[in-house]
Every structure is written in structure tokens, then in C-alpha cells.
Subunit: 165 residues, 2 copies
Amino acid sequence: MKIGKGVEWAAHACVLLAALPEGRALPGEALAAFLGVPQPYMAKQLQALSRAGVVIAQRGAAGGYRLARPAAEISLWDVTAAVEGEAPSFRCAEVRRNGPCGAAPAECARPCAIAAAFHEAESGYRRALAAAPLTELVANITREASAARKQRIAAWIEQHATKRA
Amino acid sequence: MKIGKGVEWAAHACVLLAALPEGRALPGEALAAFLGVPQPYMAKQLQALSRAGVVIAQRGAAGGYRLARPAAEISLWDVTAAVEGEAPSFRCAEVRRNGPCGAAPAECARPCAIAAAFHEAESGYRRALAAAPLTELVANITREASAARKQRIAAWIEQHATKRA
DNA sequence: CCTATTGCGGATATTTTATATCCATAATAG
DNA sequence: CTATTATGGATATAAAATATCCGCAATAGG
């Protein structure tokens, strides 16, 4: 069971966007440069976030990305679902129907007990991620950062964030 | 985030082994035939279960696989860990150190807040799987099965299970 | 001891998914 | 009108999952 890098990047991108002052946006290129990740691939993740309604993309000069709603209302699950999709990680192949003693369709009305156990575990996983809003991440990250770094970040944002009309 | 088929197969295999009478074992070939899955690949999963100490493999004539301990003491997490390994699904690439505003090593003493949130969610996922013993799965599956199917399975086991010395 | 059976480990092939890039197009500010 | 910026599709490359094969080791039973 693996989670793609895109999720990590998207999460860091959203944390950065959460630190943007009101009325500003960040172009994808600047965002990728800030995180030190490949720009074209990062762009794909940003598109996914945009399609899922997590961020708002503004085209054209002085465009860029900003959060679609307050950071308190965006969770790690929102970001994960946007990038990786909402399909369950356990895909039941209905093994119980196979082989010489396979179950008849009538015996398969309910989901397979094995699949049910995995799905229940996963729904807990999702609830845990849904309970982690961007604000909490920002707070934790801010607490660890040195004053010097916070100042550098603020300066970088001031320099790269666009002002929208 | 995806879980391989091997986990599903291994889980079904363990449920079947849990139904074996005392002192009997099932050859890998029979097991794969029962589940209707490719034998050589199933063999790999059984090897993984064996190495992890979930099942005991007996070589040679009249050999085969049996559970290494009572079904009540084997959980879905044991099976999953055996097949997929115990590595966390979220692999932190330490993105926070990248780019023009990257964090200094001193600021990275604690794990990144994003990675921490994923790891916490995953540990809940594991606890949920660890709370699902084979006995529970067997009970749920038995409840759904028709009397006819249960009888066919018992007959099949009687015919294919080896008796060890 | 001999033979048939059965699991083990390594090597390898095949398919699918993740990762990464590029380009033509559309939208927008100034 | 021009420079900028996101979008969607197509495509290339790398990595992982899926699947198979084979020679070896272990074991039961004759």
C-alpha cells in the first residue's frame, strides 16, 4: 500500500497557499520552485486540486492558485481525495465465487467479510485525515520554524504572489 | 493508495486454513485451485506468510500449509503485514528542506507535520485490521454460506488435506 | 537408500501504475 | 494586442505489481 508523491506535494502546496495574504495568488511555477519539485508534474497535481474544488485557479497574467475556501475547512482528506481519487484501496475481486466450492450469487448479497473489514478500517483512516485541517498543519509547522525562516518565507511570498484585480 | 491482490488471496487462504481440522495441512497447489487463483503467484504469498510466521509450511510428501497458531490469534493485519510489508504507506520526502526557503536541519528534529498526520491515520488503520481476527471472518463467512456449500467445502477439504505424521 | 511429493529462493518476463515532460489552446490583465 | 498563466491531451520513462519458471532442499513412505 503506497501513497504517491503527488499527495505530499499537494499537501505542502496547500499549506503554502494557506499562508497567502488575502487577495493574492501563486503561479504554479513559483509554487513548484518554492517546494523544489518538478514544475510540470506539480502542475498536474494542482490541476487535480482545482478540478476537485480545493483550490481556485486563475488563468492569465497575474493569475495563479489560491485556496477555494478557508484553510480551516480544507482537510488532508480533501487534498488526498483530489489527487489520488476516492476509490477504496482494497479492491475485492470476489474470490469467494471462484474455484470448485465457489459461492452462488445468492450467497453474495452482502459484501465479502474480508472486503468489509478492509473497508471499515479504511473509512477510519479517511475520518482521521478528514479531522486534520490545513490550519492545524500550518500551526504545527509554524511552531517548528525559526523566526529567520518565517521571515524569509514571508519575503518570498511578497515577491512572488500575484495581486488579483 | 492501492492494496495488492496478494493480500486478498492470502486472507482467503488463511480463512480456509482456519477451517482445517487439527493435524491436517493443505498443499499450495490445492489451495490455489480452491481459490481459483494462479498457483505460482499464490505460492509467493504463501511463502511470505510462512516467513512471517503466520503459517507453517511442511515440505515433502504429505506436506502443505497450516496456521502457525490459533485462528483467534491471527489478525488481518498479520496477514497484510506478511504480504505487503510493514513500511508506512506515506513516505515523507522531506519536501520542507527543499527550495529557496528550505528548513535547516535543526528545524527538522521532529517529523514533518504532514507526515505525522498521515502516520497517525495509518496507525489507526492498522489497529482496525489488528482487531479483526480470523475467527471473526470465519464466523461472518460461515453465516452467509448455504448448508450445501459448507458441506461441499468440508468434503473438498477431506479429500485434499494431507495428514501429517 | 530410493522415489515421489512439496515448499523455497532466485531469476525472469509481462502488465500496469506512477512519475515526468511537452505542446497547442484558452483565458486574462494591462 | 501582448505577455502571462492554467488546461487538457499526448507521450515518454521509471518503477512496481503481477505472473511464471526452474533447480534445490526437505520429507514421507516404501
